[in-house]
Amino acid sequence: MKFLFSIVASSAMLLSSSVIAGSSDTKVALVPGGPHPYFAAWERAGQDAVKDFGLGKADYKVPAEWDLSQQNELIESLVGKGYNAVLVFPGDAVGTNKILGELDDAGIPTAALAGCVEQPTMAKMCFGTDTGHSAYLGTKQLIKSMGGKGKIAHFTGFLVDPNTTLRIKAVEKAVGEAGGGVEIIQVIADIDAYEPADEKINAFMAAQGGEVDGIVTTAWVPAVVASQALTNMGDKRIKMVGIDHDEVVLKAIKDGYVHGTMLQNPYGQGYIGSYVMDKIRGGCTFKSNAPWKSTAQTNQFIDSGTVFVDISDVDTYVDAMRNISLDILKTFEGDFLDC
């Protein structure tokens, strides 16, 4: 499904984009914080960006572990190898700034992708899902499906992920706006890997499954594991809103065990991010009046889009995401760049 999405999205972008550039010496490295299925779409995105925009390279390089030092070493070696633009999911919201500054000193443009670094930073932009907003909207959808009352649990990602704190706060905000009818009985974090997620979520379901009325998950792996748990239990009483587009989550939606999921746009992040790096290397600069959004970490944020999908439109979710990517690309240069 992801592959299909990539093909369809890239083809559509190729046909519709009027801003195709060509700079064969731009070599973009797309570096996630560590191994994670969310970032897998960046690989195809980079390949398509090379094809569609005429870049020299746009390669997806994964650190072996979620470790800032390893990510730094990988980036340094890639730069040594000749990559001259870096798109990075920050290993740490502040710690990553050090290497971004050093790359800037070396004349290499960088941007934070899928997660932001805190300002002041030398990253040209932060291009990713407005994770707080996505978690807020997802929780709102969950509360609506629960009839505005009940107890919910929140399963989320790595504590070192700069997005995790934003997501926890956003869920609390949505619950706070529910008028006292909704209560968070458990927040389980640091489980964006299968072993800890499986252990902790199943332990929670065994101990408190009878008390909880809703589950919101704001990271990929917890969404998959929670969807599997509900499917295995055959429980349709507990409502759940997940995140991302893993096949397990999508199937659970179709089968009625999961109410819906908040889609993100990793393909669009890699594809458009590579395009922007090439533009910047080609001499473009960001407009002083560019319509940036602000988050808790930066005021140079561009939302790569998010959309809620439930059983009514789960089969056509690719179209929804493709349209978001196309809309961003169509207007990006005009809105953000002086070339």
């Binding site: 979620w66 800032l68 030092s69 070493e73 070696s77 040594g80 190898k81 740490d92 710690g95 050090k98």
Partner: protein
């Protein structure tokens, strides 16, 4: 203890001593040492990677290499001093991170100036090492088990106290040190710090009374005890030194990344374990204790970092690099066993 003099400390001596050594025909002995083999391997790999990869000799890459090598040397030395006792320090990463977080707290929250904060950080590392040493000596349990337990205790305690929040607003004076560039921007000052530490440790183990006692205690505890050496005290000293060096490595890493971060050495600090074992074991430090090689550890760290960097540049996948490092460690351990059988143990410090 009483063996032939090691010919290696050529680098320590002034020219006339080097000439004297040459006159004494000790150079041929050096050629058969582990360090010479490592030096040759390092030079061979430099030649290979310079030829077959893009960017290996670029200023950016050499600077980055010097910084990584510096930290890996320090981590290797921190493990080496415990291996000397025939023990292990699995809590090394946890000690380093705990000390770094303490240092971050001192600078950011308490507003303590940089130098006193560094001293406090080193003291914290030494204290945590002392706890390891005391438990190991008093209980008689192997340090593998003790430090496996304290790894979780230290890391858990640190996470609980800091709530996994990083200290990110450290003084510029401190963080700029990690970015500073020397020698036409090719070398990090962190490397000079590591090399200086190597010389200090070499001097300690080769030329001081306490250093020789540490080695004697590791080589044959019973004989050392009968000779009037307090083996327990020596083992505790080794753990203290390990904690101190671990804290120093963590300080260097903190200056490099510009923040004290709980995940800086991975979960429970375990990301340090591979470089910590690789450098000393490749370098010629015996896992059974009683023999160490300071400059071998240094060269071991250089070799491992060079290999990692070169494989990156050759586009070998990150996961394959891990695989290769594991193979190298296995090979080094086998070499260690062979060394026990086939080498003279007369050269105890090199």
């Amino acid at each position: 203890m009483r063996g032939k003099k090691n010919p290696f400390p050529l680098s320590l001596w002034p020219a006339k001593n080097i000439m004297k050594t040459l006159m004494n025909k000790k150079i041929p002995n050096f050629i058969f040492t582990n360090q010479f083999g490592l030096l040759c391997l390092v030079l061979v790999f430099i030649a290979i990677f310079s030829t077959v990869t893009d960017g290996f000799t670029s200023r950016f890459n050499i600077f980055a290499l010097s910084r990584v090598i510096a930290i890996d040397i320090m981590i290797g030395l921190a493990m080496m001093v415990v291996i000397l006792t025939g023990g292990l320090n699995l809590a090394l990463g946890a000690i380093g991170v705990s000390a770094a977080m303490f240092g971050g707290w001192c600078m950011e929250i308490m507003g303590i100036p940089v130098i006193p904060s560094i001293i406090l950080t080193l003291s914290m590392g030494a204290f945590l090492g002392w706890v390891n040493g005391i438990i190991t000596v008093k209980t008689g349990v192997h340090s593998f088990i003790v430090t496996l337990a304290t790894m979780s205790i230290y890391f858990g305690f640190m996470t609980m106290l800091t709530e996994a929040e990083a200290f990110r607003r450290l003084p510029e004076l401190f963080t700029d040190f990690g970015s500073a560039k020397l020698f036409n921007k090719y070398v990090s000052p962190l490397l000079l710090l590591s090399v200086a530490t190597c010389f200090i440790l070499f001097y300690l183990f080769r030329f001081t009374d306490i250093g020789r006692k540490l080695i004697a205690a590791g080589a044959n505890p019973e004989a050392a005890e009968l000779s009037g050496i307090s083996v327990s005290t020596m083992f505790i000293h080794c753990h203290v030194l390990s904690g101190l060096l671990g804290a120093l490595a963590a300080i260097m890493l903190t200056t490099r990344i510009g923040a004290a971060i709980p995940s800086m050495a991975g979960q429970l600090g375990m990301d340090w374990l591979l470089p910590a074992f690789l450098a000393p074991v490749i370098g010629g430090t015996l896992l059974s204790g009683g023999k160490l090689s300071v400059f071998g550890t240094m060269l071991g760290a250089v070799l491992v970092t060079l290999l990692t960097n070169g494989l990156y540049l050759l586009d070998v996948g990150e996961f394959w690099i891990r695989f290769f490092l594991g193979i190298i460690l296995l090979f080094a351990v086998l070499l260690d066993k062979a060394r026990e059988y086939f080498t003279l143990k007369s050269v105890i410090v090199s």
